[in-house]
């Protein structure tokens, strides 16, 4: 097929990607948007098969079948609570594919004695570095989210020096790549160094910082595809890749702002600094009220407005379906129920929303930080399920604490706050939460799902 026709088709595919992403602006149009983007991909792939440079379809067919089966099984089997791992893994594979394709492109040009080699080697170097860092970084993120690696084992002295040295080495090899007569060999050296760099960068990041890293890797996987587009001189790769790069970058920014941290801080593994205690005195002694599900059920009976605040604890205990039953029951009794969702609740952007959607909770009930904060003052009861740092009022009041200035959900302004939590242990920031000892707070100690189910039982049986 004519090259111009193929390129026109690529233009169509790029347009479909843009229209598809635009559809994600609203849950009503999102499903169609995703289908349009998939159609764009199908178009691009189908047209490529007509390229006259492709001589044999055998290897392609085998590769596509293997990939499609693995991808489909993964997508259909994965649990919604494990979505962060899934996205991390897919980011990594995308980055890995970019590394291989850029390497192949470079080899092809070198074999063909391309005269404009220097420009392509620059592009290949960038693509190799970003792609390799995405690949290894994502695999580390995957291992951590899947809890194959524990957070405590990941700090070691001298890491920052090592990262700086390795970064310098990657830059140096990158420059070498541009002048050497055999760029293909040097390409794989820079890829190797970048793999190590990606690994070391993500290694110390843990727990609540995960959303930042997953979003960042998402951005990199896009940039890797875009730079590979430069190597192959292929516009659809450049366009699609930069769209994804922009998307991941915006999400990374949103996550950093929601935690009041800088990207550099997160990647440097610098734990938020500040005083973690209040003069060594136990802030909870004698002031925490532990309640029972029956007591809390009585409170629900007189409430008119309830806000539910889900956190990572809800995902861990798979409580979303029980929460949905509770919501239904409360709604059927004429109580207004809404959800207040902090941007970094869970382990990736939007994690809680997907879990609640899975449990059939309509998306209109899910409020973001800005929409929910004005509502708490008129709320009779807030039910917190497995969240901690994102509702810690110290962020507002204590300028010296590690999370000072972080935007939080002002649940303490509600009439009554019920917190379902396993224990009083601190969250990721490592500081006590005075909310737990507040006058209007009742603690329900236990597993998220079990407690919500106990609440349901108590509500059904009534006083």
């Amino acid at each position: 097929m004519n090259g111009a026709v193929i390129n026109l088709g690529y233009l169509g595919a790029s347009a479909l990607f843009i229209v598809g992403l635009k559809g994600l602006a609203h849950p009503r149009t999102a499903l169609r948007g995703n289908l349009l983007a998939a159609l764009g991909m199908l178009l691009a792939v189908a047209l490529t098969l007509f390229d006259r440079r492709i001589l044999s379809l055998q290897a392609i067919a085998v590769g596509v079948v293997i990939g499609a089966v693995l991808g489909a099984v993964l997508a259909l089997k994965i649990q919604m609570t494990a979505m962060p791992q899934m996205v991390a893994l897919l980011n990594g594979l995308g980055g890995g594919a970019s590394v291989l394709v850029a390497g192949a492109g470079l080899l092809e040009r070198q074999n063909g004695g391309d005269s404009a080699l220097s420009y392509f080697t620059v592009a290949a170097a960038v693509s190799g570095v970003i792609g390799a860092m995405t690949f290894s970084g994502s695999l580390v993120a995957f291992a951590k989210l899947q809890e194959l690696v524990t957070d405590s084992s990941t700090q070691f002295p001298g890491r920052r020096v090592l990262v700086a040295g390795l970064g310098a080495a990657v830059c140096g090899i990158g420059l070498w790549l541009m002048v050497t007569p055999d760029p293909h060999t040097v390409y794989w050296i820079v890829v190797g160094a970048s793999l190590l760099l990606g690994l070391l960068l993500v290694w110390p990041v843990g727990g609540a910082d995960m959303p930042v890293v997953v979003a960042l890797l998402n951005s990199w996987s896009g940039l890797a595809a875009a730079t590979t587009g430069f190597v192959l001189n292929n516009n659809v790769l450049i366009i699609a890749g930069s769209l994804v790069g922009a998307s991941g970058f915006i999400l990374t920014q949103i996550m950093c702002r929601a935690m009041n941290r800088s990207l550099v801080n997160v990647l440097a593994g610098i734990a938020p600094q500040g005083s973690t205690g209040q003069g060594g005195e136990d802030p909870y002694v004698g002031r925490v009220k532990a309640g029972s599900p029956e007591e809390v059920a009585l409170l629900f009976d007189v409430a008119q407005r309830v806000m539910i605040v889900p956190g990572y604890g809800m995902a861990v205990s798979q409580a979303q379906h029980s929460v949905a039953h509770l919501t239904e029951l409360l709604c059927s009794r004429g109580i207004e129920v809404e959800f207040a969702i902090h941007p970094v609740a869970g382990r990736m952007p939007g994690h809680m929303n997907v879990l609640l959607a899975e449990a059939n909770i309509p998306y209109e009930l899910l409020k973001d930080l800005d929409d929910s904060n004005p509502l708490f003052e008129q709320t009779d009861m807030v039910l917190v399920i497995g969240a901690n740092d994102v509702i810690n009022p110290l962020a507002r009041t204590d300028r010296t604490c590690p999370i000072a200035g972080m935007p939080i959900l002002d649940v303490d302004k509600a009439r009554t706050v019920v917190v379902i939590k396993r224990s009083l242990s601190p969250g990721f920031a490592g500081i006590p939460n005075p909310l737990f000892a507040a006058e209007n707070t009742i603690m329900l100690f236990g597993d998220g799902r079990e407690m919500v189910q106990a609440l349901l039982k108590a509500l059904k049986e009534g006083p």
């Binding site: 379809l57 392609i60 991808g71 489909a72 890797a224 450049i238 915006i250 997907v354």
Partner: protein
């Protein structure tokens, strides 16, 4: 040099388009946005196909083949899991009925 400038032009314009579109995505859809965008970044599949089918050099074919597998997992898995998630988002009236 001209190729480079042309590519850079497209790159920068697409970045701007991306920023404009993505800022309008509500937080409730951020997870499907990530997986969907991720599937789109599997566009490297196009390059992988070209390498895998070229029969020019065995190393090229191997690189291409592995890239085809990786990118296809990325594309198929990404779009499918996004579809699965988005199909779960429903409006209020459907819950009450």
């Amino acid at each position: 040099m001209e190729t480079a400038v042309l590519g850079l032009t497209i790159f920068v314009l697409a970045l701007f388009a991306g920023f404009e579109i993505i800022t309008k995505v509500p937080p409730t859809l951020h997870t499907p946005l990530m997986s969907g965008a991720n599937a789109i970044s599997g566009i490297t599949l196009v390059g992988a196909l070209l390498a895998a089918g070229s029969e020019q050099d065995w190393l090229l074919s191997i690189l291409g083949f592995v890239a085809v597998v990786f990118a296809t997992i990325n594309v198929v898995g990404g779009f499918l899991v996004t579809h699965r998630m988005l199909a779960m988002f429903r409006e209020h009236r459907k819950m009450e009925s």
